[in-house]
């Protein structure tokens, strides 16, 4: 792996806090290794800013291996940058060329207000989960034996594929409508596909969708952008399944 070094220009959204007005600022960064990850490049920029006694750029990140869902960033007009199937922390600088100008912005959504610079508040996702994203079973450990209800492998696999969602919010960020239906659809699907989740399926989908609407997310118009940009490749099938679940639940709701 031959290391190369490139010089880049960055245009980055800076915003002091949630109340302040923000703007795009320009930074030059030299000698960036193409083996660096995108976030390591930002570390390097921050080190440079600190040495210049300027305020470093705040951005969310944690595991840096593409699973915690904490990193975000809208890079050159795309959620998690130009590569697909990865999060920003897995994006590497070899995707860019010497002399490139790179735009870096926070997720833009009414439901994800900016906290500072590139950091946004995604607690709306937590609240949707709290509205019904669970199976109501107490944690006694005295449930029935794990193998007493066989689950068809295809259902289990599909439930897993839906459950692979990392809750990063790229779907919302990339959707022209700021819709969270891929996120909610994935959660609804995971439980709808498993016998353990079926009992509460109707209330779950109604409650989660209600909460989703209250949070101010937009509606799905099936552009399919979320599926393309989702780092975990969550399928649109999950949105369809949620629609199905929602329609049947809404039509048969007795409350």
């Amino acid at each position: 792996m031959a290391s190369k070094f490139i010089n880049i220009t960055l245009k980055i959204w800076r915003q002091k806090n949630s109340q302040a007005k923000g703007s795009m600022e320009t930074y030059k960064l030299d000698h960036v290794s193409t083996d660096s990850s995108f976030l390591e490049m930002l570390d390097q920029l921050n080190e440079q800013l600190i040495n210049e006694r300027k305020e470093p750029i705040a951005f969310d990140h944690d595991c840096r291996e593409g699973i915690c869902g904490m990193c975000s960033l809208y890079i050159n007009g795309r959620a998690h940058g130009p590569d697909t199937g990865i999060t920003t922390c897995q994006l590497h600088m070899r995707m860019f060329k010497d002399g490139d100008t790179i735009y870096v912005e926070p997720w833009r959504s009414a439901a994800f207000p900016v906290i500072k610079d590139l950091v946004v508040d995604r607690s709306a996702f937590d609240r949707i989960q709290q509205a019904g994203g669970f199976v109501s079973v107490n944690t006694s450990g005295r449930t029935i034996d794990a193998n007493s209800i066989p689950v068809p492998k295809t259902d289990a696999d599909k439930a897993f594929e839906a459950a692979a969602c990392i809750g990063c919010g790229a779907c919302v960020a990339t959707c022209k409508n700021g819709s969270a239906m891929l996120f909610v659809g994935a959660k609804v699907s995971q439980y709808a596909l498993l016998p353990q989740g079926k009992v509460e399926a109707k209330n779950r989908v109604l409650n989660m969708v209600r909460q989703m609407d209250e949070e101010g997310f937009g509606n799905c118009t099936n552009t399919g952008a979320c599926e393309i940009e989702c780092p975990k490749g969550i399928s649109l099938e999950n949105i369809a399944r949620m629609n199905r679940e929602f329609l049947t639940a809404a039509l048969s709701n007795e409350d």
Binding site: Y74, N76, R108, K176, G218, T223, A225
Partner: protein, 281 residues
Amino acid sequence: MALTGLFLCLFLVGHLLGNLQLIFITGEEGKRAFNEYAYFMTHNPFVKVLSYVTYLSILFHAIDGFLLTIKNKKARPVPYAYNNPGANSSTPSRYMALLGSLILIFIVTHMANFWWKMKFSSDPMPLHQVVVANPQSGAEETFYITHTGDYVPTSAFVGEGEMPAAMEVRNGTEFYLKEVNLKRGEGYKDLHSVVLSFFGQDKTKDGVPEKNEMALFAVLFYVIAMMVLAFHLWHGFASAFQSLGLNHKAYNKMIKMAGQTFAIIVPALFAIIPILLFMNK
């Protein structure tokens, strides 16, 4: 959106089949068939119900789409400084609201051109006439055709010198014997001629309907509108299935193919009619 959208797709098919008579059946037979069809469509109670459902669908589809668009705009108050949506979605899918609005404008003008005239206009519609040569004299006489298939000479509606006309048209289409106040029959509104004139053919009788001097623009407008419709359907057809939860690995490709085929063929056939009419003027 999905249900109304799919219903409107069905409506498009029905409408198209009716329209295709304009080019597939020619001459007097075509005119008669088309005008009879127009009469049927405006008088059959079942069709009437269906038409109200269609009006409501259009309204609902437009209003719901409008509200949806507003809500979706609100969901992203601050736009991206740099965005590259082309990387992850098709162009039509991102402009459904705009395409829909253009289609709505088209529908309004389209209805003003034909539907309004047919139903409400204070200007009376021309009635279906047929010219027959008198087998004895060889002179050409003009008749109205009634629903019962009778021929009523148009001359009966015109006075001659001191003599007043024997008959008159009441309520746009009903033929009355003036003296005895008796209905003799009912004529067909001649939508066929209205359409043909609109697209540039010279069908005027005594200046009714007026020949459209701007027919070329009318044709162009209709063709462009159908292209817009094609783009709208390109995304909308399959999208409706997804919204209704009909997504299955085994059928997704088929639905998409069907949608795209529909999106090309239906608007294309619609568009071809004014073009042919215009070329045959």
